[in-house]
Symmetry: C2
Subunit: 292 residues, 2 copies
């Protein structure tokens, strides 16, 4: 990097005012990592009380109007596509032209494309930029982030994304980030159910379940899910790293967007829906196999 480029880069970093909307399990640590990366970040959450305890670590505001004021880049990570849609139509009215809006919610690819086109009319650049890696990844700044939208906008926010994630991949045109995320969830869907079925099988045959997990993770059955959610299934620890209600949302979006029929995806969505434990973590699918 030449001294001149470096100067402009630094200047960019110093001048940019960043807004962050969404202080949940994922959003809060992500905003904090952005702050730790040296950026001027302001955090807003619909329920102010949830972020108030962090005001010594990051600037927090009570209203959306305070948040959007003068911001060059705004990150959003909320719950559902309906919330993304409502939020973005608010933002279109309030954000200054030229700003970049980066939605990190896992949401609908069709909606991402529609908002991208709508944003264009307001001279706003939208990126769809969902993440994976769970709460751990959000806390440690090791998320995997997949981005769709204009490449120039992507290159501008890339240094900021690097404070939150380890692997940042530009997937091409608007909506491709969301499509990629759904493909990712399709892998996890089958994977986590397979782990639950294997633990159930091992339990039915009175195997040592901790040894069983060691074997699974020592060979060609190894996976991030088996390493991280396997032990929680064995312990019956269903504290959400990732909520079932959000996972079901993702799986339904994927079913809604699928071309070729994907029978395993359809079956896993049905298993989670039948379990009906929306506020537990995804590992609680093991409960679907426990004879009560």
């Amino acid at each position: 990097m030449s001294p001149y480029t470096w100067y402009n880069h630094l200047k960019g970093c110093v001048m940019m005012k960043i807004g962050f909307i969404g202080g949940g399990i994922m959003g809060l640590p992500m905003a904090l990592n952005l702050k730790k990366g040296g950026y001027d970040v302001t955090l807003y959450n619909r329920t102010y009380e949830k972020i108030k305890p962090y005001e010594d670590q990051i600037q927090v505001v009570k209203t959306l109007d305070e948040l959007v004021k003068d911001k060059d880049i705004i990150f959003t990570i909320v719950g559902y596509p309906s919330e993304v849609e409502a939020l973005y139509f608010e933002l279109f009215k309030k954000v200054k032209p030229g700003a970049i809006l980066v939605d990190m919610t896992t949401s609908s690819p069709k909606l991402a494309k529609r908002l991208y086109l709508e944003g264009k009319k307001h001279q706003l650049k939208l990126l769809d930029s969902p993440v994976t890696g769970g709460d751990k990844g959000a806390i440690n700044g090791t998320l995997s982030i997949m981005v769709g939208g204009d490449e120039t906008a992507f290159n501008l926010v890339l240094p900021l994304l690097k404070t939150m994630g380890k692997t940042i991949t530009y997937m091409g045109e608007s909506s491709n980030g969301q499509t990629m995320k759904l493909a990712n969830q399709i892998v996890i869907a089958s994977n986590i159910v397979g782990i639950a079925e294997a633990i159930t099988f091992a339990k039915d045959h009175h195997l040592d379940l901790n040894k069983a997990l060691d074997v699974i993770n020592g060979g060609s059955a190894q996976s991030w899910q088996a390493q991280n959610n396997g032990p929680k299934m064995v312990l019956g620890d269903y504290k959400p790293g990732f909520y079932i209600k959000h996972f079901i949302k993702d799986l339904r979006l994927a079913i809604d967007e699928m071309g070729t029929t994907l029978p395993n995806l359809v079956q896993v969505e049905a298993l989670y829906t039948k379990l009906n434990q929306m506020d537990l973590g995804t590992q609680a699918i093991i409960e679907a196999y426990i004879q009560h």
Copy 2:
């Protein structure tokens, strides 16, 4: 290790005569690793021509009678439970009392238990000791090996197993090795189908499939299968690391032994059976999703 223990250990290594039955994709490299570990190994394969080319690397014999002669420990890795059963009833007639027989085929837990009890009558100690890690693991000596049977026999063969595998786990009583292996295959079954479904989804939406695999393996969807079989699915490389015919055998054994119903396992077995491509590698399941 005291000098005395070391002397006995060395003496044990030098004196022990090892037989190895089965020179397939897995068996051949496993026998070669045992040989490289300093053991006196003789290899036998039903079809002699397949192992003849390796006679400069390992001692090979043409008949089962030559193989069993004077052996202290015999490893077996053949195709199907029916072959295991036929082979072991031959071995019971021919092997000298006191020997240890280690079956590394993935086979039926029920059969393992039955052969273990039958072997006892002939003063033979049987271990069921299937492996995972694929052809790569067999070649590199990094297999995961799970063992059921008497713990004293396990401790005796442990140094030999260490030449073939990285993670060796004693699972308890006879048949527990096979049960563990089936649990492991249950994980892989759902995992590999999930990867095929995700690649299909990504392809239907015109994503860059290599980037998609990078994203999958960079976060919480990561798995050995996605890293090793994902790229083969994308390339259409169906060369068998692990044959579909052997995988279907494993899945049917698991279905046969399951207590609680495991719907994903049942569905994956049906998908592989319907695909009907027995001599391709397991990654060829992606073909089930390609519109011809």
